[in-house]
Every structure is written in C-alpha cells, then in structure tokens.
Symmetry: C2
Amino acid sequence: MKLSDLSASTGVAPATLKYYLREGLLPAGARVSATRADYDASHVERVRLIRALVEGAGLSIAGVRRVVDAIEHPPESFQDFLGAAQSAISVGALTSPVSPEVRYAVAELGWGDCHSDALGLLQAALDTADRASFPVTTERLVAYGRAMEQVAEIDIGALAADTAGASRSEMLRYVAVGTVVVDPVLVALRRLAQAHVSAARLGLPPPPP
Amino acid sequence: MKLSDLSASTGVAPATLKYYLREGLLPAGARVSATRADYDASHVERVRLIRALVEGAGLSIAGVRRVVDAIEHPPESFQDFLGAAQSAISVGALTSPVSPEVRYAVAELGWGDCHSDALGLLQAALDTADRASFPVTTERLVAYGRAMEQVAEIDIGALAADTAGASRSEMLRYVAVGTVVVDPVLVALRRLAQAHVSAARLGLPPPPP
C-alpha cells in the first residue's frame, strides 16, 4: 500500500508517518519507484505500536526507539527479555540505591528473584513518597505487593495463553504494550475501587445515578 | 522564617519558590517590611505537596493548582470530596462515553456506586489499549478489578487510621498525595511481581545475585 493508504489505515497523518520514517521508528517501505514505496501489514502494526506507546504511556520518541530496538533484537533468556521490555518502557525513571526496608519487603513477599532495575524504580517511587511527607510503611508495601502479585498472575497467564507459538519479537511486543497500556487501566480501577470501598466502609449513600 | 530559610528547609531554589508565589500555588508570607515576608510550617508543608505532585505525578502547574484549590475549598460530602481529589489529579486525561462492557464489568464487581469521572478515565484507558491492538477482555478487566479492590482496601484503611480527627483539608491532602505517590509504587511492584511470577510459572532459574 501507499503512504496515503497507510495513513488511512492507521488514522495517523502522512507528515507524522514521514517523521517516524526519518526517526527510524518505522522501517522504510519496499522501494517501487524513485518516488514511491510500498507498505504492508507489518507497517500498520508498527504504527499502532508507536501510537500506543506515545498515547498510552506518554513515551518520548527516545523511549519508543528503545522499545522498538528491544523488539528487533530480543534477548535470549526470558528473564532478560522481560527485563528488556520493562526497562525500555521505564525511560526517564530515576533509580535509587535499594534500602534495607525494601529488601525486607521483597523477601517477605518471597520475591527472591527480582531484577535490580525494577527494584531501583520501586525505591525511587518510595523516595518520592517520603519527600512528599507520605511515607509508605513496610507493612503497607507488603500488602500492596500481594495485590500486585495477583495482577501479575493475570498478566503472565494471559501472556502464556495469547502468545503460545508466537515469535520472541511478538512476545516482547505483547509484554511491552501490555504493561504500558494496562498501567492506566489499573490506575483508573484503583480510583473506582476507592470510591466503592469508601462508600461501603464509611456507610455513605451512593451518589444519584 | 525568611524565603532563604524556606528554601533551605525544602531544598527548593528561591527562584522556584518565587515562581510558586507568583502562580498563587504558595500563599504569600506575612508581610514584615517592604522587602521581607515571614513564612511558617504551613508553607514548608505546601512546598512539599507541590513537589510531590510535580515530581511524583508529573502534574503540570495547572494540575497542581486544581489540587491546591480542592484542598482550600473542600466539598461537603465525602463522596464528592474523594471525587474532587481524584479529578484534580487526573488532569489532561481524556474521558470517553462508557461502553456496555465496562458497565457490565463494574456491575460484576459489585461497584454500583462509581462516580462517572473515574469510569470515563477507565474507558479512555481501554480505548487506548484497543487502538494499540491490545484489547482487554471483560473477564480480564473484572480480574484486575478484584486485585485493585484489595489495593483500595489498603488505601481507605490507611486513610481512616492516619487521618482520624484531622480536618477535611488534611484528609483531602492525604487522598490526593496518597493516590498520586502510590501509583508509581504499584507500577514498580507490578513489574517486580511479573518477574517473580514468570520465573515461578515458567520454571526459570533466578538471575545471578
């Protein structure tokens, strides 16, 4: 298909597609003539991925490039691979030296096998909470951890079911996109659940329909 | 204390504090002379709140102003109050008309008492996932909802315990800051839990220490 058809299929303006091509996020189409290139379904898929990362996660172009690089050069072991998908989408996050309290919480949760990038991300989030005069106790951190382990069970169960027989690149795309686009879903569900739990606990009447 | 002392207490540069004063995020100090104003502990607290919202949640100055306004003019009912705290921090989020699938999931969860702002936020997150070719099934949404209800139980339990006897403004600060600074903690815990669950389920050895 022509660039104009790729634009029509994805709803992304031709000027934006040309920008993705120049930045190397979108592979060049097959050259048909001096002024025309041919695009296929893989280009449609790639444009959707880029839009998901930009819109869903607010990633910068540099962040999108890291995800695209990880997808094009997937690491060998699954653990490295999950780490690569996660690191690619945590662009710009500051990481901090891990405190004894966090190590204790992780041990308490039985998560002996944590890779250090995500631990640094957790520590940075806790340090920000401290600076905001909103310290998260170790007990509370462990309780949150148990709830998020259920979320991860859903994530990994769906990954195993949905990518059976798929290539490593496809699995990496699934992990990167699934992690990025589901984060805001969880954040919204937390707010809805807060409203429900506070009404139930504090005995408040539901608001008018 | 002088502006320079407020700067020393909070670690925020005097020029930045002056910017917060000009923008009305930080109330003026008590005028002592033509060139000097006096700041107190409430100013230290406010600066910490502003930094938490900017650093922890990446809120814009307009977003911070909405939180500050909500804290200064807290609504009467607790439900309105929770909604105000939540809306103030979801600045910039697009909301969408709510689909029958989302209404079904919310009913399935027993959350009949959801206010519509957070529902629109959830719908927008699901629409983004759809556009990224990563549709979240209703079954998966309900499963995520149950996990986030546990998170909300921890949130609301801590709110009740930590703000007993506090003013409405203090409770609103607690909800707004707690929601904003805990979101990145949950996101980091999800990544750690994914690594643990994938290693446990897929029988992979833990990475070297």
